[in-house]
Symmetry: C2
Subunit: 457 residues, 2 copies
């Protein structure tokens, strides 16, 4: 408890408004329905994660500066640092992967972990709000860490991607490739180029590589193509990649998700730490131009991505903890889903949403009665409102009630006498009010209609 | 897409571990069940907020520095600043009230808003982890902003407190007081003291004030006491406070929550900006020493607090937006609830939690079959696991399945021949698997038992 004598007079506070009334550059407030839609995305995706044994992790928004350093290459300049106010030097997290790796390194008692984390990350990038690029934005990551037999967790991550986007009702294609195949093709191309330069071979031979890299097909097709090329399939990297991808193919067939996967040899992902499978999830490509015109909304590029990174955790400790994971692009998914919702013009993003509205017709406003009934309902978990005035007009109460599925009218008999709403109303015994309201709301939920009821005197 | 040629070799990365493998001072990771319990608190409290028309707000973790400055008095030194890396100067939020006030000032189209926000806040305080004081911690705030008739929103905030703690199953008392009554008592006491010093009155007269300040009783009792004191009830501040509290009393009676409220004239809250009702929620005080020994866990002080602040928003704009709100002490509530959960010794906070575990008895491990069935189940939203190995022993599979309510056994006939688990199993047609599993899980959920089923060949 604080000393009484220290209380200043709050009215004496200076009222000069700050020069700038805004959120920091590249950040936004989300309110009401905007938060609802985001949370709905999180709920759908978390449920899929938990179906696969995923457990949630919540880490601090800032980490020791040295934990982040050396992990993002040139992008390190985009890290937000905290000011040195004495004590440890800290930085805001740049992604959720490095905090997870730090957590794995600290918690040596877990040998196999499936974790997910949904949280905001921070990048001092040039923001492009119109294209959905912010300085503060949500990431939503699922990763499987620990030693497993090859490709089993990798296949599970791809199954999770398929299930999550089915839950979100977004048609997707998952483009996959393998880091070792990329490395192998680069090696073979390097040798080729030398041969062209030194031995005067025709450019046409070198073009073979380009043909391969542009290839995009089913897993089976691309595997056949790779195995058919003597030149490529003899490279050790590519051989190892083919083995992995063949195994992955058999697992994806067992999961019955091959239809959603395209093996794209040109796919390369920016992050340094990938070591095996890499993938990007894109909204399904239309089969033809006709389909394109009916496509499902804005083109937003990849909406999830990930891959295998076997050596990141080892940077923090003297153990190898191989990992494979996926990160969902929450803002891009939000853009797609919100484009589907048609919001009525003028409808507030921040409107109160009640199931029941309590109205009184009697003289004197009956505020205490409306409060008593509303309190009974909220205590039973029903979203109940009333006009928070002592003497509201009946008209203003009914106008507020119009947006709400169920109106409870005190003094209904009086109203009914001169009102054509009469036929839609029902009298309810006061002691059964909560029970009856629940019943009516259940019925209304199915019929999407409005109703009126009234407690008996 | 990134250029293929820029990929470094990840295995070449230096493996020197950072000097310190930890989270920053005063911060913690939360994992698995710790996150679950926190989210459960948020869910229960949010549902109450939404019952009262509350809409969620999500603001950036940092604000422009000038938005925070001058709002926290001496505590301003505890604000985390971001380093000046060019551009705007920013600070991490210190609470959720100032960001809400900033949002209200920016969004002039909302005249009446009930908003809630659940988010972490940041204070460079001396952490005391054992007493639950951190540098990063959750706040959970509900506020009603806008012009209303006196005390109606104030009563609603107290009703919300009662409903929230009923939902959390924590018995509480809400201690309330009024800023104007505090100010009035201070004024009267000041006059008294002068009289004592200048006119040589006995100290006994001055002691009257002390008697009042130590008073604690029901709303009705304390109101009677105040009105009965000629000296106090003539003070203008106290008069205004009595009027407010009498009105509040009538509303709290309508809401039927007076039993939970204690009018405590000694209650003062630290924050400068309170102007009217102030309150603190404490775990219910035991009636006697016997009760005390059976009390509900650790003593944690106040677990929610709030009050009316009518001039804060005006500091950001040229409008008055009167507000009243409550902030829930998430960490303290967490401490109470987690003390109630008895965790089995050695049980991991981060264990996979499945509803179904798929086991194969046949030779060869049947990994693809186990994957196919698990995939069918997860796609139907069932939390399904299997041992992620090609050739797991039956024993290791059954051991993993022991922790899971339902085991699905492929090749059950073979197992049943020599196993006493036989009687507990049931054969299920493969095409009905998902449907049957859902049925069994529903039954198990009621009985809290384990079961086994097996798809027919």
């Amino acid at each position: 408890m604080d000393s009484l004598s220290n209380l200043p007079n709050p009215q004496s506070t200076s009222r000069s408004a700050p020069a700038q009334l805004k959120t920091p550059k590249g950040t936004l407030d989300f309110a009401g329905n905007e938060v609802k839609l985001r949370k709905n995305i999180f709920r759908i995706v978390s449920e899929v994660f938990e179906c696969h044994g995923g457990q949630e992790l919540d880490t601090p928004v800032f980490e020791l500066k040295e934990i982040l350093s050396g992990k993002y290459g040139e992008d390190s300049r985009l890290i937000y640092d905290l000011q040195d106010q004495g004590g440890e030097l800290c930085s805001l997290r740049y992604d959720l992967t490095v905090p997870f790796a730090r957590w794995l390194a600290m918690n040596t008692n877990y040998t196999q972990v499936s974790r997910y984390q949904i949280a905001k990350v921070y990048r001092r990038d040039q923001p492009a709000i119109s294209r959905g690029r912010y300085r503060e934005f949500y990431q939503c990551d699922f990763d499987i860490a620990g030693k497993y037999e090859p490709m089993i967790p990798d296949a599970e991550i791809l199954l999770i991607a398929v299930e999550a986007f089915q839950g979100l009702e977004i048609d997707v294609t998952i483009k996959i490739n393998h880091r070792k195949i990329l490395d192998g093709i680069l090696a073979v191309a390097g040798v080729k180029q030398e041969m062209v330069q030194q031995k005067g071979l025709t450019e046409a031979v070198a073009d073979d590589i380009g043909r391969f890299v542009r290839n995009r097909g089913t897993l089976a097709e691309t595997l056949t193509l790779l195995k058919g090329s003597v030149e490529l399939s003899q490279n050790e990297y590519i051989k190892a990649g083919i083995d992995d991808m063949s195994l992955l193919y058999s697992y994806l067939r067992a999961f019955d998700v091959c239809d959603h996967v395209s093996f794209d040899l040109s796919l390369a992902r920016g992050l340094d730490y990938y070591t095996g499978v890499i993938f990007e999830v894109v909204t399904a490509l239309p089969e033809s131009k006709e389909d394109a015109s009916q496509s499902q909304g804005p083109q937003v590029g990849s909406i999830a991505a990930g891959g295998r990174y076997d050596y990141l955790v080892g940077m923090y400790c003297n153990r190898d903890v191989p990992c494979v994971g996926i990160s969902f692009g929450v803002e891009r998914i939000y853009t797609i889903l919100s484009a589907r919702l048609t919001r009525k013009k003028g409808e507030s993003v921040f409107a109160e949403q009640y199931d029941v509205f309590v109205v009184a017709t009697g003289a004197g406003g009956l505020l205490l009665d409306r409060m008593a009934i509303s309190g009974q309902l909220t205590r039973a978990g029903i979203r109940a409102g009333y006009l928070k005035k002592t003497q509201p007009s009946l008209r203003s109460q009914l106008r507020a009630a119009e947006k709400v599925p169920l109106s409870i009218i005190l003094g209904f008999e009086e109203l009914a006498a001169g009102n054509d709403e009469k036929d839609r109303g029902q009298l309810v015994a006061r002691q059964d009010l909560v029970k009856e309201v629940k019943k009516i709301l259940e019925r209304l939920g199915q019929d999407k209609t409005r109703a009126i009821c009234s407690p008996q005197k």
